[in-house]
Symmetry: C2
Subunit: 202 residues, 2 copies
């Protein structure tokens, strides 16, 4: 069974996190979430100063992550087949500035594993210096921070080698299904689309 690690921080966009998590599970992928704090606190604490607490997402939904990032030290993170970075401005900023994350994204990309970033989460790809000169997309609000280093596309999902990027909550189904297709194939993707009653065009 392929596996995916999805990152979450205070201010993560809860729709992007939840749609990715849920659609990947529907796609037969084992999904685990890891909390990312700021590097200064060792990445172990949220702003409330408590470990293993819930994370308050961008519009107030409170989600309990399964792990904290430091628990994956020593190469454990690289046992996963894919890593997913959701957006939400504040969450994406914390994730992009965490050096453990940028090292991890670099290692995933170098090993040919899937690195998937949506919305402002694409800033983490830039911070990790991966896929440079390839194609990328993001939420329009952070386009200006990416177009110098990448061929910027306004497609809803962009696949450039093993970097998959997308634009916002409204593209999160298409983004998540692209990850399912990359890990499990086209047939699995088609199988799970029906019961979700998706729009005619994603």
């Amino acid at each position: 069974m392929p596996s995916a690690l999805i990152l979450i921080a205070e201010g993560t966009e809860e729709m992007e996190f939840t749609i990715a998590y849920d659609v990947l599970v529907r796609g037969g992928i084992e999904v685990k979430s890891a909390f990312v704090g700021s590097s200064e606190t060792g990445g172990t604490q949220n702003p409330h100063g408590q470990a293993n607490d819930s994370v308050t997402c961008s519009r107030g939904v409170k989600i309990v992550p399964e792990m904290r990032l430091p628990e994956l030290a020593g190469g454990k993170a690289l046992e996963y087949d894919a890593i997913v970075v959701p957006g939400g401005n504040k969450g994406a900023e914390t994730i992009s500035k965490n050096e453990d994350v940028t090292k991890l994204l670099g290692a995933f990309y170098a090993k040919g594993k899937v690195v998937a970033c949506i919305c402002a989460g694409s800033l983490a790809a830039k911070a990790a210096k991966i896929g440079k000169d390839g194609s990328i997309t993001s939420h329009p609000s952070v386009k200006g921070e990416l177009e110098q280093d990448y061929r910027y596309s306004e497609d809803r999902v962009v696949i450039s080698n093993n970097l998959i990027t997308s634009r916002g909550p409204g593209t999160a189904f298409a983004f998540s299904l692209a990850i399912v297709e990359a890990l499990q194939g086209k047939e699995k993707r088609t199988e799970i689309e029906g019961p979700m009653i998706l729009p005619p065009t994603l």
Copy 2:
């Protein structure tokens, strides 16, 4: 500021819950979530036997609700302008069978407040005996339980008096925007659509 109460139980579909919560907040609506347990335990406990714990949704995302339903006894629930019932088979079953919920939905509907149900959540409308002989939709998997009592529609969002129903995770954006439009008007709906980068047809 209009307000909405969104119900959550063990097994609630996390995409439907999260999309409704987030889109309503974007629409300038004050949103609170209330945990619904089974009637037998007084609705205060989840299967782990702990109150105020996180709820494990249908695909494993753990969400912390803001209240438990009994905290809204004595008419406090009716201070909200809308009530939202997400799907997920197991969650919708718990919610539909809880007598406090069915009484509440009946009271909301009778007062002309918005009652919004998505996916298997539409079974709660039937259990509350509201909107009978009007139009309804739901996840296709529970169509057979609704078509005797309602004019069953396969439209992605159905508005019948003050009952708004919808079909599944893939229709959750359209559903949530219909609630925003009902509470805040068409202009607000249009304002929040752009930044979410929604598909061309919902």
